[in-house]
């Protein structure tokens, strides 16, 4: 049996701020984000990459943070739900979730919003199929998805109006 692993120091940026983590290399990014900077907006749902509740962006790429060992976050720019709003100004997707009832119990909401924000960054005018595909990795047991879907459509419309 090999010796116990030592904790490592991981340097990265979280929501634009230089951050250091001290953690076992195989620790899940999900747990480290929640426990060290205390960013508890990222939720744990299934813990096996099926539900998307722990979605974050790493270098602009959507990932399930429960499946990322913290060692692989070295040097990365991470965005969590706490980094989506611009100060007090909510992102169009966040505002649309409020006005269209896209959130109910709230557990899936941070991941759902990150998946939607990430989708709109890749496809500013997504088709219906692209929205469904973009959110297919995020499970919600409350809304039945229709209101979430409508919220994303509304966010696109608002963003286009402003542009």
């Amino acid at each position: 049996m090999p010796d116990a692993a030592r904790k490592i120091r991981v340097q990265c940026h979280v929501n634009g701020r230089a951050t250091e983590f001290d953690a076992y290399p195989m620790a899940r990014l999900l747990d480290v984000l929640r426990e060290q900077p205390g960013l508890t907006g990222t939720k744990e749902g299934c813990g096996e990459g099926e539900c998307g509740a722990c979605s974050v962006e790493i270098d602009g790429v959507l990932v399930n943070s429960c499946l990322v060992p913290v060692l692989q976050a070295e040097g990365a720019s991470i965005r969590t739900i706490e980094g989506v709003a611009d100060g007090d100004r909510l992102h169009a997707v966040q505002q649309a979730f409020i006005t269209h009832g896209g959130a109910q119990c709230g557990i899936c909401t941070p991941g759902m919003i990150l998946a939607a924000v990430n989708l709109l960054a890749r496809h500013p005018r997504p088709t219906e199929a692209q929205i469904r595909e973009g959110l297919a990795g995020n499970l919600c047991r409350c809304t039945g998805y229709i209101k979430i879907f409508e919220s994303v459509v509304e966010a696109c419309r608002k963003t286009e109006q402003r542009a």
Binding site: M1, G49, V68, L119
Partner: protein, 287 residues
Amino acid sequence: MRAYLPSYHLEAPRDLASALERMKHEPSAWKPFAGGTDLMVLLEAGKLPHRQYLSIWKLPELRGIDVGPDHVMIGALTTYTAVQAHETLEREFPLVCRAAAETGSIATQNRGTLGGNIANASPAADSPPALIVYDAELELISAAGTRWLAYRDFHTGYKQMKLRPDELIRRIRLARTTAVWKQHYRKVGTRRAQAISKVCFAGAARVENGRIADVRIALGSVAPTVVRAAQTERLLRGESPSRAVLQAAQVALAREIAPIDDMRSTARYRLRVAQNLLAEFFEILSS
């Protein structure tokens, strides 16, 4: 988290050569860890038996897609997302792109890799049937050098493969010979997205003057490994797609696959669906 984290080692070698040296000097001690979409699931469940991993995720030598005059070389760490975004793959190897799009969610496609899908050696993996249909070859690399293997001979049994403990999968080579073939890929799972397959079918055929001049068929989730339906192919070569030929091919297919009952489906259902997918492929060949 059901795993005891201090018992897991994960190190990031600075380049491919250092990773291979490590694997040479401590054979079987270190296993590769790529995007983590399979291994982290086992870790969380407290079921990851091996303890020491080398993170190869950032090694540039294992990334990238190179298009040559006769072949396309796909780095083992190419993600499903990168596969789908590649124009030559989309144009000439649509089954690989289709498989990549059917694998997990966007977040999984961003982290999961073709090499990882191969080395995880699941008979239910989505990309191997497509790769086998294209007669993919694998380049395996170790400190001692490299060697090429036909992918269809790589998996030798359930979770068994011809990969030495000191070797990594470096790239996948596809010959650019099938672009004009008629091609079909279909994964059947419990739901449209995020499901593991009950049956997965990939087929490609060169049809000339209404006859099947050449054909390749591979299936997932119907045997201990992803399989090539060689007998069915032999029966089809030279034939015109007719109802009688289809029926004979469905009988041949039943003889060479070995579906089982498990948590995801039943042997009976899998056999029936595999035969139906062959019929669907036939419709495409006749159209």
